[in-house]
Amino acid sequence: MYFVIAGGGEVGFHLAKALLESSHEVMLLESDRRRAQVIEEKLGSVVLNAPADEGRYQLEAGCQRADAVIAVTGEDPANLIICQLAKWKCNVPRVIARVNDPKNEIVFKALGIDETISSTRVIMNVIEQELPSGGFLPLMPLTGSHLELIEAEIAPGTPSAGKSIGSLGLPDGAAIGGIVRKGAVVHADDTTKLLVGDRIVVLSPTKVEADVRKALFG
């Protein structure tokens, strides 16, 4: 497959290297001349020394025939515009943007960029899964809304275990969409009690994620 990578920082460089090693075709756009040279010395002639946020350089890099464009610069606005240009101007079937501020995942989705990677979010998720109170995992933002999907596990000792959903004090706009209990889906309403071992799926406005966590885990 053919991938165009925008941004030759550490992420872009190692991504290009990994894709080349798995026998994919790669073109990396990097606007800094010296950085572009360094990468070219290491990876060969797979670098175009030009800014990726200008349509003509995307064309020069062959975005029209790219299977995906991946924008991994350190600037969220640049990553957004690069992906939109690739989508609208070059009809690239798949665009992926790195977001540095996790809030921008929602922003990018609202602006038509569905695939985003937030390193902050990924690391936070890993840390949270390791925590003993654990099992609180924001899964994904929902396209076209300010909502997200959260999965939570009711472990022994969790303050919400044994309580009915109505008594949890979930923030406005947040709702428990379903409970997975012993491998089966249990319908959830206000009177349903959460039991140890339940896995629950919560729909929540992104901005009250912390309140949902508080309602469930104290």
């Binding site: 946020d53 200008e54 606005p77 957004l80 515009i81 609208w88 501020d101 921008n104 602006l111």
Partner: protein
Amino acid sequence: MNIVIVGCGRVGAFLAGQLDKAGHAVTIVDLERGSFVHLPQDFHGTTLLGNGTDLDVLRTAGIDKADAVFTLTQGDNRNLMAAQIARQIFGVKRVIAKVNDPIRAALYRSHEISTVSRTTILGTLLEAMLMGDAEVGKVLIEKSKAAEAAMAGELG
């Protein structure tokens, strides 16, 4: 009108001053405190220190109640991102972004963002002046001369 301006460079500060004088409620956002020196001394509007592409900063600026938003930082991408947040997420009716790259200016115009490119506007005007085509910029030049005279008068 409630007006939010992102970017307090020369253009942002000038526009903020004009709209403030005309009696509008102006909030102007910039990353650097030092930028606000560009504003006229008698500016009555609100200044907000923060990143104009940040959702929370824009909320604080009152973008959800804005009648118009201008994005006028030095970065085309920042201007286009802030403008799209205003238009698509907060549903602001009038959104104008300064986009110096003519290609990007044209592309986003077809995606509901009004864009103004200094490159093509100033270039077209200069060419017309050289060719003696007075029609092209007559009103524009008269208005900007008047604004310049007013600014110089305040200093003098």
